[in-house]
Every structure is written in structure tokens, then in C-alpha cells.
């Protein structure tokens, strides 16, 4: 076996194992952690496939941002585990049958006899100075510029949708105006009074 193959099997093992652990773990926080491990393993496999840019982006976006928000939500919610599991046993037989059928179909259609190395040629290797990002960027901004723009529109909709659904038009709660707080200067709040000896007159001066 080649060294790369050994690495591949190690990462694949972790990928599969952590995915299974994620599904079967009863603690939502642990499930998220296993999912993170699965992402890491996937990213490692991508690096073996010379897709280092995608691998890093996977970690940056999914592990660094999306999963943080997941954990955030899990902490905020008090998930009642008993209701989650109440109907599980009832759906289990049907679920198992469906899963078995899908797995069988996928093996039949996607197995190595269909997409194996004997059928499809292995992709060509690139030299060490091959820059993944340059190629990707060139493709993205020339051939795929239209889908790229459409994806941007999709994100715009997501922003509009999120704000539309959450934004309260009338604010009825007490709220601090931070910009006014930041703009405040000492002389707005503070008045310096110079107090001299009681014999003399007291006079006010502006502070600053």
C-alpha cells in the first residue's frame, strides 16, 4: 500500500465513524462535535484529492461559522429528548426498509463496477506549484459567472427573508441608542464647579 492510501483509509475511517457517531449520539452537543470531526475528515480527503482550497473553505465556513451557530442554538434550546424518541420506534421498521432499499440501489448504480478505476480513468495529477485557487477563480469568473451571480441573488434573498421575518417594525421595548452614547462628550454630562473659599462668590464654569 502507498502512504497516501493509508492516509486515505485513516481519514475515511474517521469520516464514516464520526458520521455514525453523530447520528447515534443522544447528546446534541456531542453530535455537533462529531459532525465537526466528520467535516475535518472530509476536508482531509479533499486535500488528498488536491482540492486544498475547497478543503480550507469547508473548514472555514462550516466548522468555523455554521457549526458555531448550531452549538449556539443547541445551547439556547431545551431539547426534550423523550418527545424526540417517542415516535422513533414506530418509524424504525419503515425507515430501515427504505434505507436498505436506497443502499441497495446505490450500490447497484454507483458501485465500483460503475465508477471504478477500470471504467473511469483516474484524474491526472498536478505538479506541486499547481494553484487550485487561480484555476477555480478563473472558472468562476468566466465560465460560471452567471450561476455565480445567481448564487449572490440567492444570498440576497436569504438576507431579505431573515430580516423580513424577524424585524419588528414598531419597537415597544426600552432600547439604548448606542450611537448617542458613543457621541457623548464630557461636557454634556459633567459640570465642573470651582469652589473657592467661602468668602468669595461661587461661579460656574463649563467643563471639558
Amino acid at each position: 500500500m502507498e502512504f497516501e492510501q493509508i492516509l486515505f483509509y485513516i481519514f475515511s475511517f474517521w469520516f464514516v465513524a464520526s458520521s455514525l457517531a453523530m447520528i447515534f449520539s443522544r447528546n446534541a452537543a456531542k453530535a455537533v462535535l462529531f459532525l465537526i470531526l466528520a467535516f475535518f475528515s472530509a476536508a482531509s480527503i479533499w486535500i488528498l484529492l488536491e482540492a486544498e482550497f475547497l478543503a480550507i473553505i469547508l473548514i472555514l465556513v462550516y466548522v468555523g461559522a455554521v457549526m458555531v451557530l448550531f452549538l449556539f442554538v443547541i445551547k439556547m434550546l431545551n431539547i426534550d429528548k423523550s418527545t424526540l424518541r417517542a415516535k422513533f420506534a414506530g418509524y424504525l421498521p419503515l425507515g430501515l426498509v427504505v434505507a436498505a432499499v436506497i443502499v441497495a440501489e446505490m450500490i447497484l448504480v454507483l458501485g465500483s463496477h460503475q465508477f471504478g478505476l477500470e471504467v473511469v480513468a483516474a484524474p491526472a495529477r498536478h505538479s506541486a506549484d499547481y494553484s487550485n485557487i487561480t484555476v477555480l477563480a478563473t472558472q468562476l469568473y468566466t465560465t460560471y459567472v452567471y450561476p455565480f451571480e445567481l448564487a449572490a441573488v440567492l444570498l440576497l434573498i436569504a438576507i431579505i427573508a431573515a430580516i423580513t421575518l424577524v424585524h419588528q417594525s414598531q419597537i415597544k421595548r426600552k432600547q439604548q441608542s448606542i450611537s448617542e452614547q458613543v457621541k457623548v462628550r464630557a461636557k454634556d454630562r459633567l459640570r465642573l464647579i470651582s469652589i473657592t473659599s467661602p468668602n468669595k462668590k461661587t461661579k460656574e464654569v463649563d467643563g471639558g
Binding site: 448504480v109 459567472v145 445567481l150
Partner: protein, 486 residues
């Protein structure tokens, strides 16, 4: 070597409607931000204006030679141009009705119209999509806007429920569609519809290729059926129709159907047309089930929005029957049916919205008791719609069904045609029940049909309903137009 970043600006002229619409959306979004309460109506007028200009721009493109730009991911042919004009026109009519509804139920917000415009953009992308990637992105732009348009009535629990159901099932459908696309891409090596067509029609399509492309095809058909709401992927339709604000229901029921049919044409006919025999069987099952379940389940409904949902399912069944035939005449009949369906649905929901009052939705069929006594004109409008939906000549609905059945028969599917006719007769019962309620039942105490809708809506609605009759009187012109699209 040529500069990879340079492209021909002039070639983008066929995408002018989309480019204009997106720019208009951004501008309206910004203008809406600075509008204060009494001037919020400006957003509505700007929306109508931009829809109109986009429609004119799209209209000018009818008759252009087929052009493919953006690295083979955008096509402008007659189908795309005509569908765009139809969709934009339908959307303009829908917006007239929508404004009344939103004001009545204090849902009037600038974002509503922005999201409608974005949904329109998504649909235009779908209609012009010539690559699986752009088709999918257009669909997602559409779906994401629709989810929000439902949930925008966030104080109503059933609207939130409808949005959630639509979102979850829509996401599953998108997943299935993507899975199918990935199979087709994996084996054909291209996302481009034209190249997929070349690949799938190749005579040397071996057993391995055929197996995998069939595997993907099943998922593609399921995804499209989900989006159309065909049985057995229809579960979301009644709940979404009932739970969503009526204006949103009207929008979902009309314009997106045109876009999804266009996507169906792009993927299954332009792309995988050579495999028509493979998806024909699926379509027979889907359409017969839709016609049957749609007709039977509607019999039990007391809520008119739910009833129209099941009626939609049965109409979808007929539309899909047109694609079963596998000939251009059949496809044309299906497109004609879509057109008829959109006009009828717009009018039906228009009347429902018209009878809305502040804090009251005319949802129950019993709300329409004695409508004839108080608002005879609009009772007549609803009568036309219901007769047309039931398939009574000389209305447009009759010709729609007639053309489909004609093509089905000439393609040799006699038994299918007989089943379809039987269920069409059954479905006539519930349409006639509404007519009976309007004309022969005594109105309930305190139910006064005071029409508070503005004059523009009343006029447009009347024109809309009369159109059902007018198109019904000269159906052949429209059929010719529909046939010329293929």
C-alpha cells in the same frame, strides 16, 4: 491567448429583461428603505412599473433567433420569451389583487413586493435555464422567496405552519432534484442541456450509462412532480394553500406553475427527450393519480382555498398528461392548459380576495351563500370561473381539457383518456356545488357582501374573468401560439 475575462457585451442583450429586473429590485429595495408610512404605496407602483418594463423588454425578444449565452447556461428561444411575457403579465394582475388583500389584513410591507420581484427573477432564470446548474439556482431563488411570502403573516399560526411544511418538503424536493442532476452530470459529464441531449440520444448509450441516467431520471421526475404538486408528492399543496395568506396562495398557484412547466420542458424534453419512453410511464402514473385524488378529495372540502388546492392537483394531472403523449402537439396542448389554468386560477383567487374585509377572510364555502343577491356581477364572474374549471364549453377550461384528451387519444392511450374523463365529470360536482351555494342558498344573518376593493381591482378582475370566455371563443389562436413554442 485571448483574455479569459473579456466577454462580448452585445451578446448580453438577450438577457436584458433579467438584468433590468435585478437592477430594479435593488433600486426599489433601497427606495423602500427610505419611504415613510403614507408613501409606502410607491413601492407597489414601482413594482408594477418594473414588471411592465421587464415584460416589454421580454416582448421585444419574441421572434429573436435562438441564442445561447453565458457559456451555454442561458438560452433565449421563443418558449423562454413567450413564457416570460406570460409570467410577468400574470404577476402584474396578481399584484393588483395582492395590494387590496395586503391592505385589508395590514400585511402591506415593501418586502412583500421585493420578494415577489425576486421570485419573478428566479422564474425567469428557470425559463431561460440551459444548464442544470442555472435551472436549479432559479428554482431555489423562487422557492426561498415563496417560503418567505408565506411566513410574512407571522402572527398567524397556520401561515407559519404552512411555511414550515412548504420549506421542509421543498428542501427535500430540491435535494431529490439535485441528486438526480448529479447522477446525470456524473455520467454525461456535462451540466449543459444541449450536451446532455446529445449524450442521451447517442446510439452507443451502453447499459452502464443507461442504468445511471435512468436512476437520475427518476429523481429528476420526482423533484419536478414535488414542485408541481402531483400525487403522491402533493401533501404540501392543501396545507400551504389553506395556511398561506390568500394573496400568496394566489401567487404560488399561478405564476410558478408556468416556470416549473418550463423547467420540465428544459430537462425532460430538451435534455432527456430521447429517453421519453423511460419517463412516460412515470408520468402516466403521476397524472392519473393526480386527477383521481385531486377530484375525489376536493369533494369533501368546506374551505374554498383547500378545494382549489385539490382542484389544482387535478389540473396538474391533466397538464402532465400532455407530456405523456411524446409529440409536439401534446406538449402544445399542455402549455395551452397551463395558460388556461393560470387565467382561471387568477380569477378564482381574485374573487376570493375581492370578498375579503378587514379581519375577515372569505374562506369557507358557506361564506358565499347568496352572493348573487348582493354582488350579482362578481357572482357571475365566479360562475364563469367555476364553469370553466369544470370544463363546460365554451369556456377556456373546456378547450384545455379537450385538446389534451384529443392528443391522448391520437397517441393511442384510450383507457387513460376514459379514466381522465370520468374524474373530470366527478370533479364537476364540487364546482357546481359552489355555484349552487352562490345562487340558491340564503345568506347567513349579518353577512353583507360589501365590496371594499378599489376600482382598479374590480375592473382588472372583470377583464380577467371575461378573458376566460374570450379565449374560449377563439382557442385555436392560442393553441397555435402554444404549438409554435416547440
Amino acid at each position: 491567448m485571448t483574455n479569459p475575462y473579456s466577454f462580448d457585451i452585445a451578446s448580453l442583450s438577450v438577457a436584458i429583461p433579467e438584468i433590468f429586473l435585478l437592477s430594479a429590485i435593488v433600486v426599489i429595495l433601497l427606495i423602500d428603505l427610505f419611504l415613510t408610512q403614507p408613501f409606502k404605496q410607491v413601492t407597489y407602483y414601482l413594482t408594477q412599473l418594473s414588471l411592465l418594463i421587464t415584460a416589454i423588454l421580454a416582448f421585444n425578444l419574441i421572434g429573436q433567433p435562438d441564442t445561447i449565452i453565458f457559456s451555454d447556461s442561458f438560452i433565449l428561444d421563443k418558449l423562454a420569451a413567450v413564457f416570460k411575457v406570460l409570467m410577468l403579465g400574470a404577476a402584474m394582475v396578481a399584484m393588483v389583487y395582492t395590494r387590496h388583500y395586503l391592505i385589508q389584513h395590514s400585511l402591506f410591507r415593501g418586502e412583500y413586493f421585493i420578494l415577489v420581484l425576486l421570485a419573478m427573477l428566479g422564474m425567469m432564470v428557470m425559463v431561460s435555464g440551459y444548464s442544470l446548474l442555472t435551472l436549479y439556482l432559479g428554482l431555489e431563488i423562487l422557492s426561498l422567496s415563496l417560503y418567505t411570502l408565506i411566513a410574512i403573516a407571522r402572527k398567524r399560526s397556520n401561515a407559519i405552519e404552512a411555511a414550515l411544511k412548504y420549506f421542509v418538503l421543498g428542501a427535500i424536493a430540491s435535494g431529490l432534484l439535485l441528486y438526480g442532476m448529479s447522477m446525470v452530470y456524473g455520467i454525461s459529464g456535462s451540466l449543459n442541456i444541449g450536451e446532455i441531449a446529445q449524450f442521451s440520444s447517442a446510439t452507443n448509450l451502453g447499459g452502464r450509462e443507461a442504468l445511471i441516467i435512468n436512476f437520475g431520471l427518476v429523481f429528476l421526475v420526482i423533484g419536478i412532480a414535488f414542485k408541481l404538486g402531483a400525487v403522491p408528492f402533493h401533501m404540501w399543496v392543501p396545507d400551504v394553500y389553506q395556511g398561506a395568506p390568500t394573496a400568496t396562495t394566489m401567487f404560488i398557484a399561478t405564476v410558478p406553475k408556468i416556470a416549473v412547466v418550463a423547467m420540465l420542458v428544459r430537462i425532460l424534453i430538451d435534455g432527456l427527450g430521447a429517453m421519453q419512453l423511460d419517463w412516460q410511464g412515470l408520468f402516466v402514473a403521476l397524472s392519473l393519480l393526480s386527477i383521481a385524488i385531486g377530484s375525489l378529495a376536493a369533494l369533501m372540502q368546506t374551505n374554498i382555498k383547500r378545494l382549489l388546492a385539490y382542484s389544482t392537483i387535478s389540473h396538474i394531472g391533466f397538464i402532465m398528461l400532455g407530456f405523456v403523449t411524446g409529440v409536439i402537439a401534446g406538449y402544445g396542448a399542455a402549455v395551452f392548459y397551463v395558460l388556461a389554468y393560470v387565467i382561471m386560477s387568477l380569477a378564482a383567487f381574485g374573487v376570493i380576495i375581492l370578498l375579503n374585509k378587514k379581519g375577515f377572510e372569505a374562506e369557507q364555502i358557506s361564506d358565499y351563500k347568496g352572493l348573487n343577491k348582493h354582488a350579482p356581477w362578481f357572482a357571475l364572474m365566479l360562475l364563469i370561473v367555476m364553469l370553466s374549471m369544470a370544463g363546460v364549453p365554451p369556456f377556456i377550461g373546456f378547450y384545455a381539457k379537450f385538446f389534451i384528451l384529443q392528443q391522448i387519444l391520437s397517441a393511442g392511450f384510450v383507457s387513460i383518456a376514459i379514466i381522465a374523463v370520468i374524474f373530470a365529470v366527478i370533479s364537476a360536482y364540487y364546482y357546481l356545488k359552489i355555484i349552487k351555494t352562490m345562487y340558491f342558498d340564503v345568506p347567513e344573518e349579518g353577512n353583507t357582501f360589501s365590496i371594499s376593493a378599489p376600482m382598479d381591482m374590480q375592473i382588472i378582475l372583470s377583464i380577467n374573468a371575461v378573458l376566460i370566455l374570450v379565449v374560449g371563443l377563439l382557442p385555436n389562436q392560442w393553441l397555435k401560439l402554444a404549438l409554435s413554442l416547440f
